[in-house]
């Protein structure tokens, strides 16, 4: 009891700047709370309600417990659970774009940074490969839609060259629709990844490469033994951001298939599914439930990647 005033005095003497620190970071937390945390909680809350619009009339909100979730996981007449199917689609579409994207970007980054190759006109190439990223994804998608439509230039050329007799309906064949989406995502993002990975490689100490070369390591050995391990943090960062972006894939398939995810809803992504509930019916209950599921999936996947990263450290 006696000590209390002393310690108080002592505290007062040493000036704490902590509160200023908190004050400075407060704007972030405040905006986070208003624009992220509050909507998140509201979404979870909404997912327990029946809440939609029928024409110009509002139905609900009525509390329905877990009914929306039950509906999401009820298999249809053919035995498919929709949300899992769309999650599967999303992952396939993401992998189809992300794997070539990372491989090609890695290759390009190594070529560009190699002092042996010493490629000229780097600035030009870097600009060119980054270009597609500057185009709006939906505009890019619209361009592809026009190019590959039944009366579009691609079909016209194929017919003219005698490759096919009648136009290929690219948008009614599963593999072509998916390939086009993957191709577009690849084209849009590989430049960005290349630049990131180049920065990563340039951050590695040059002496290590020289030492490896003096020891007689070939370029493949240098890549696997020196470059790749030291590039890992940047690579994992790239993969996580690509993963989160991939799970939220929307604009490219939405515009390309006019929102229908043709054929047989095989190019329907999770966010497109979510969007279906938000348009016309303004079904906040079901949309909320889907959002919560997406949130959980994203959280789990990020945790997995994070774990695998920290283990190595």
């Amino acid at each position: 009891m006696k000590r209390l005033p002393d310690s108080r005095k002592a505290k007062r003497k040493s000036i704490s700047y902590a509160k200023w620190g908190y004050l400075f970071i407060a704007p972030f937390f405040l905006t986070y709370a208003i624009f992220n945390l509050y909507p998140l909680i509201l979404t979870i809350y909404n997912s327990f309600f029946e809440n939609y619009r029928s024409g110009l009339k509002q139905v609900g909100p009525n509390f329905v417990g877990l009914a929306n979730y039950v509906k999401l996981f009820t298999p249809d007449a053919n035995g498919t659970i929709d949300i899992l199917k769309y999650a599967g689609n999303t992952v396939v579409l993401w992998l189809g774009g992300a794997i070539p994207q990372i491989v090609i970007a890695l290759l390009l980054a190594i070529f560009f940074t190699s002092h042996r190759l010493n490629i000229r006109g780097q600035q030009f190439f870097k600009t060119v490969i980054y270009m597609p990223n500057l185009i709006m994804a939906s505009a890019f998608s619209m361009l592809f839609f026009t190019l590959f439509s039944n009366v579009g230039p691609v079909n016209q050329l194929l017919i003219q060259w005698g490759v096919v007799d009648t136009a290929i309906d690219f948008f009614s064949i599963k593999i072509t629709v998916r390939s086009l989406i993957c191709l577009m995502n690849f084209l849009l993002w590989f430049g960005n990844t290349t630049i990131l990975l180049m920065a990563g490689i340039m951050g590695i100490d040059q002496n290590l490469f020289e030492a490896a070369e003096i020891d007689g390591a070939g370029s493949i050995q240098v890549f696997f033994k020196v470059t790749l391990p030291l590039l890992m943090p940047i690579l994992v960062y790239t993969i996580i951001t690509a993963l989160i972006g991939g799970l939220q894939m929307f604009d490219v398939p939405q515009v390309l298939t006019n929102g229908a995810g043709t054929p047989n809803r095989s190019s329907m992504t999770l966010i497109m599914y979510l969007n279906n509930y938000l348009r016309t019916s303004k079904n906040y209950g079901m949309a909320g439930a889907i959002s919560v599921i997406i949130f959980i999936i994203t959280g789990l996947l990020s945790l997995m990647v994070y774990r695998s990263l920290t283990k190595k450290d």
């Binding site: 704007p27 939609y52 029928s54 110009l56 139905v59 439509s149 054929p263 809803r265 348009r279 016309t280």
Partner: protein, 454 residues
């Protein structure tokens, strides 16, 4: 010094945030009184004097440029009034979504931002007519419906018979065929003879095989005949209890669509796609289209281009079954601050003989004025050059007698779009019949949770 600096920075930052919040708030607080003031103004004026002063901005919601074109050509806007067109595409229900948002928000916006008039189509007009968001036009002064077609007034009337709008067109739909192809396939391009050869589905289907044998398509899309079937259905798409019911007429279309696709009698594509439109050009191989006057004068606009199209190589006849398709109604929005102009527009497009005559002569329309239509139908001088000089008005006058506005629901647009889209995947062979229907039901559940699907 450091402390002072930190304090200063913090204060600046907090102030900055307040400034943001303040700038967000100020317009809202100033707007609110302005809106209430404005609302009160007309009231006092109305009690004191005649409705002299009306809004300076006239807002019209539409889904394409069709009516805008006629409006700008034939309607004289009162001096000092600006007409503001808000156009959203109809595809996928975008127009309806945007319009709904605006109507639900109608009470909260300033008078000049309120919707004064909006256009609606037969597929969803009931949604707006049977609501508080449209108002009685007879009270505004539109009272003369003696020349209009009864169904157009019936469609724009709510359950208790209050009329909420007018249609500027009447939409009996016809079989539109390419004369040159008909000559090749049927041996004649005379409308009466073609009609005799195509007046039932059995004949139509048989001719499709002949057309195919000669290297033509019977229709450019498997959905081309949809309206002919669906318009003759006995039940609405959604019954009173909210169940989806696909009647026999629609099932007959489904069978035909699959047969036509499998046999190569038609292309499989959306009726609004480039692929379908390309068939309307000179080197197109398609013999038949179906549609009202608006279809060939507006949607076949490309075919009217003398360079690309085949102007004059078309003709119309009734086809296998009489039907009607669509139509654009002008509805009066509740809360409009331009009631006089609103009523005047509506009256002009149904009762002004000069405007209606111009619509027929210059725009190939079939108007909602029976007297004017009858005049052109009887005029031996009149002929539509696009249709090779055929008097289309005379054909439509006969077809218009069959129109019954029944079995319509507020859901028709999206239910129709979805059915055509998902059934096309089956026609293409991408999915099984069960998968196609299951996907269609999923689509309905997403769009309209209240509809019960099998």
């Amino acid at each position: 010094m450091k402390k002072l600096m930190a304090l200063l920075l913090a204060v600046v930052m907090v102030l900055g945030m307040c400034a943001c919040a303040a700038s967000d708030n100020t317009p809202a607080t100033t707007q609110a009184p302005a809106a209430t003031e404005k609302k009160e103004e007309p009231k006092t004026e109305a009690t004191e004097a005649a409705p002299a002063e009306e809004g300076k901005v006239f807002n019209i919601y539409a889904w394409n440029e069709e009516f805008k074109g006629f409006f700008e050509k034939y309607y004289t806007v009162p001096e000092g009034v600006t007409v503001n067109w808000i156009i959203n595409p109809s595809d996928g229900g975008v127009y309806q979504d945007k319009l709904d948002e605006a109507l639900l928000n109608q009470a909260n916006v300033a008078d000049d931002e309120k919707i004064d008039m909006f256009l609606a189509e037969a597929d969803y007009i009931l949604k707006y007519v049977d609501s508080e968001y449209t108002q009685d036009i007879t009270a505004l002064g539109v009272t003369d419906f003696s020349n209009t077609y009864t169904y157009t007034v019936q469609a724009a009337s709510d359950a208790s018979g209050v009329v909420k709008g007018v249609s500027f067109q009447c939409c009996p739909s016809a079989l539109i065929y390419r004369r040159s192809i008909a000559k090749d396939v049927l041996g004649t391009d005379d409308p009466a003879e073609v009609q005799a050869l195509l007046d039932s589905w059995d004949k139509f289907n048989a001719v499709a095989a002949d057309a195919k044998a000669k290297g033509y398509y019977m229709t450019s899309s498997e959905a081309e005949t949809f309206r002919v079937f669906s318009n003759n259905g006995e039940t609405p798409l959604v019954d009173g209890a909210g169940n989806l019911t696909l009647n026999d007429a629609i099932k007959a279309w489904q069978t035909q669509a699959k047969t036509f696709s499998d046999n190569g009698y038609t292309l499989t594509c959306d009726i609004w796609s480039d692929e379908c439109t390309a068939q309307m050009f000179a080197d197109g191989k398609t013999m038949c289209y179906f549609g009202p006057a608006w279809y060939f004068n507006f949607c076949m606009g490309n075919a009217q281009d003398p360079d690309k199209g085949c102007y004059g190589d078309w003709a119309i006849c009734e086809g296998p079954q009489a039907h009607f398709w669509g139509g654009t109604w002008l509805l009066a929005a509740t809360g409009s601050d331009n009631p006089t102009m609103l009523a005047d527009i509506m009256d002009t497009f149904i009762n002004d003989e000069e405007v209606c005559s111009n619509l027929i002569q210059n725009e190939s329309q079939f108007t909602n004025n029976q007297a004017v239509n009858a005049k052109f139908a009887a005029d031996p001088e009149y002929g539509n050059a696009f249709l090779g000089g055929q008097n289309d008005v005379a054909v439509f006058v006969e077809l218009a007698k069959n129109i019954k506005f029944e079995n319509k629901t507020i859901y028709d647009q999206l239910l129709t779009e979805g059915l055509q889209g998902y059934w096309r995947e089956y026609c293409d062979g991408a999915v099984t019949e069960e998968e196609a229907m299951s996907n269609y039901y999923k689509y309905i559940n997403e769009k309209y949770p209240e509809i019960v699907t099998p």
